[in-house]
């Protein structure tokens, strides 16, 4: 039996489980709130076309609209100015081989519960490696904060001085890209960067360094608490939007 056939068999028997890491796309789900002078990402909206009625007697369907970065979504390298000139940097040109990759999950849920401005540092990553081994090249690194267990205002956690949510500092991102060659960085919060990352140098380092090196981002994920620290296989294929900077998507984790 080929390894793929064995994999399929394990899926059928439930030896391999599929865990959904996706938040439900709904109008109320918070989107990133930029200062009002900037353009804004559209929230998810849905308009009914017909529902077994005079507009369509036997069928129900909707039109929906949203931004590329609404809900659980994928960030392509072109999203950030640092990645704008890279080859194959859009949702339609990224090699599909990238859409399935293993993940390492760094659990910072305890620290994040205590401090919404928790910062992922190189030290925290190294401490995780001391316990779980070195992060293999080509893996996703997911920052588990249990932020997805929050909702509404608690989830966005916007104060007068902006959002307060966990994220990495510039050094940690550079470490992951350059020292560990990760495929991307994934989080439960609205952005891969910390809520206060506008004050970092450079601002928004997860976006700046990841996309500057052609790596990806996954945001607004859930169920990271159901993943092992290592070894989960992530399926995360964005919509094939021409020239797209990202897209809402269904993120699945295969756990053996």
């Amino acid at each position: 039996m080929s390894s793929l056939a064995a994999f399929a068999a394990d899926l059928m028997t439930g030896k391999i489980k599929v865990i959904d890491l996706t938040q439900t796309l709904s109008p109320e789900f918070p989107t990133i709130a930029l200062p009002p002078v900037f353009g804004q990402c559209a929230p998810f909206r849905m308009e009914e076309i017909s529902r077994y009625d005079d507009r369509g007697p036997a069928w129900y369907w909707n039109n929906f609209s949203c931004g590329e970065h609404t809900g659980t979504h994928f960030d392509a390298p072109i999203h950030w100015v640092s990645g704008k000139d890279l080859p194959n940097n859009t949702t339609d040109t990224i090699d599909a081989q990238n859409f399935i990759a293993p993940a390492c999950v760094i659990d910072c849920s305890v620290q994040s519960a205590a401090n919404p401005d928790f910062i992922l540092t190189v030290d925290v990553i190294k401490a995780w490696e001391a316990e779980n081994g070195r992060i293999p090249a080509g893996n996703w690194v997911f920052l588990r904060t249990d932020w997805s267990k929050r909702s509404g205002a608690d989830y966005a956690n916007v104060k007068e001085d902006g959002a307060h949510t966990p994220g990495p500092d510039p050094e940690a991102v550079q470490f992951l890209v350059e020292q560990r060659d990760v495929i991307g960085f994934g989080v439960e919060t609205i952005g891969t960067d910390a809520g206060q990352a506008h004050a970092f140098t450079p601002p928004y380092p997860a976006h700046f360094f990841m996309h500057g090196k052609g790596r990806f981002g996954l945001q607004c994920m859930t169920n990271l608490d159901r993943l092992p620290p290592k070894g989960a296989l992530i399926v995360s294929a964005p919509l094939k939007i021409q020239g797209g900077s990202g897209s809402p998507l269904r993120v699945l984790a295969l756990v053996g």
């Binding site: 109008p27 109320e28 929230p43 849905m46 308009e47 509404g152 205002a153 989830y155 104060k159």
Partner: protein, 405 residues
């Protein structure tokens, strides 16, 4: 004869509700001038440009000199009651709901005699103050009020049919987040509103707590609007859409339609969603006694008449909203649809605009006056009034006038 406003009674769940009827609406084209005057709170009659005679009922030529030059002019609003009656048997279903109904013949100080609805405190044979009001059909009608104010005169059931006093009624203010929405809510509470609901969009964003009761409402989200209608539709008598979204930006300089689309979402699609979700419910409750659902207020920019420099796409959205508001008026009868055209707001988006600008309390007070006066068209602020005056003077030159600064 005065009495206070009866308290709102809990509705009998088994009783068939009073149907939302309206009085006879058919009018000649000339008589529509009465509605136009009433909508603006004016007491105007047709006057002959040739001989100066005021005439009533409206005609197509001067009854004195057959001159064709008839203009609607404000006239003295005094009068004397010559005769009065109390109708107890009416042929019309609306009036059957409201009998006994008092009317009289009034000798107007400006000349003609007019049949008028009589306020309950008008006893007969005396001096009265005349007003033109919009009735539940949206037609302009004559009202005779006591020459001097009487105690609690606003509680007259006839007057309550002609006005939209928030007193005792339940009000929805669509945007409780802005200073304008909060001032509106507070003004309605101060005016005796039984309850004020304040819509909050994106409750996950921090913001000030509005007066009254905060409710989730995002006009850009159909599902949110429908949820609000389902939960509160039966408890809203007056809707005030304060979600005025004005952002500067010319048509060419923006280079995209994202912000223009946002403007259309809030100015046009938002009210459209709200009207589709709430309109039928409110209209169904428009016959519901002295506390019936009665008014729908749209706050729009005066730029709806013509674009102001630097706010081009916004003006286009406001023009669409004005057209929607006018269309809604016809479909929502017997409710009144009040269109408030406002000048530049005193908010963060008009920092570069020189004064005078409209303050939150000023707008709220103007809307309250319109509701209590039963008016359907108001203009708020000196700038808006200036633009309106130019528009009345010559609609064809207004846009060029404004474009040249």
């Amino acid at each position: 004869m005065s009495g206070t406003l009866p308290p709102r009674k809990p509705s009998d769940p088994l009783a068939v509700p009073a149907a939302p009827l309206a009085p006879p609406a058919g009018r000649s084209r000339a008589a529509l001038g009465l509605a136009a005057a009433a909508a603006r709170g004016r007491f105007a009659l047709q006057c002959c440009g040739g001989c100066g005679a005021a005439q009533y009922p409206p005609r197509d030529l001067c009854h004195r000199c057959l001159g064709p030059d008839l203009v609607w002019r404000d006239v003295a609003n005094g009068g004397t009651v010559l005769a009065m009656t109390t109708t107890r048997i009416s042929a019309d279903p609306y009036f059957r709901q409201h009998t006994p109904w008092r009317s009289g013949l009034v000798q107007l100080d400006c000349g003609p005699s007019a049949v008028a609805h009589l306020h309950r405190d008008v006893a007969g044979g005396e001096r009265v103050r005349m007003r033109l009001h919009l009735d539940k059909s949206g037609q302009g009608v004559m009202l005779a009020l006591p020459a001097v104010d009487t105690p609690d005169m606003d509680a007259d059931p006839m007057l309550r049919q002609m006005t939209c006093d928030p007193r005792g009624r339940r009000v929805l203010v669509t945007d409780g987040r802005t200073a304008f929405g909060r001032a509106m809510a507070q003004t309605m509470l101060d005016a005796g509103a039984a309850q004020v609901f304040c819509g909050i969009a994106d409750a996950w964003k921090p913001g000030p707590t509005p007066p009254g009761e905060a409710v989730d409402l995002d006009l850009t989200d159909t599902a949110s609007v429908r949820r609000l209608a389902a939960e509160f539709g039966g408890r809203i008598d007056i809707v005030i859409d304060t979600a005025l979204h004005i952002r500067p930006g010319g048509l060419l300089e923006r280079g995209d339609i994202v912000r223009a689309r946002e403007e259309m979402e809030l100015a046009f699609f938002g009210p459209l969603r709200l009207a589709q979700a709430l309109g039928p419910v409110l209209r169904g409750r428009a016959g519901d006694g002295t506390h019936a659902a009665c008014a729908w207020v749209n706050i729009l920019s005066i730029a709806a008449l013509a674009p102001m420099p630097g706010y081009t796409t916004n003006a286009a959205a406001q023009a669409a909203a004005l057209s929607l508001s006018t269309g809604l008026r016809a479909e929502l009868r017997p409710l009144k649809v009040v269109t408030a055209l406002v000048g530049p707001l005193d908010d963060a988006w008009h920092q570069a605009v020189p004064p005078p600008k409209v303050a939150p309390a000023q707008l709220a007070a103007a809307v309250l006056r319109a509701l209590k006066g039963g008016r359907e068209e108001i203009v708020v602020g000196d700038i808006a009034q200036d633009v309106m005056n130019r528009w009345i003077d010559n609609p064809a030159t207004l846009a060029r006038d404004l474009a040249s600064g």
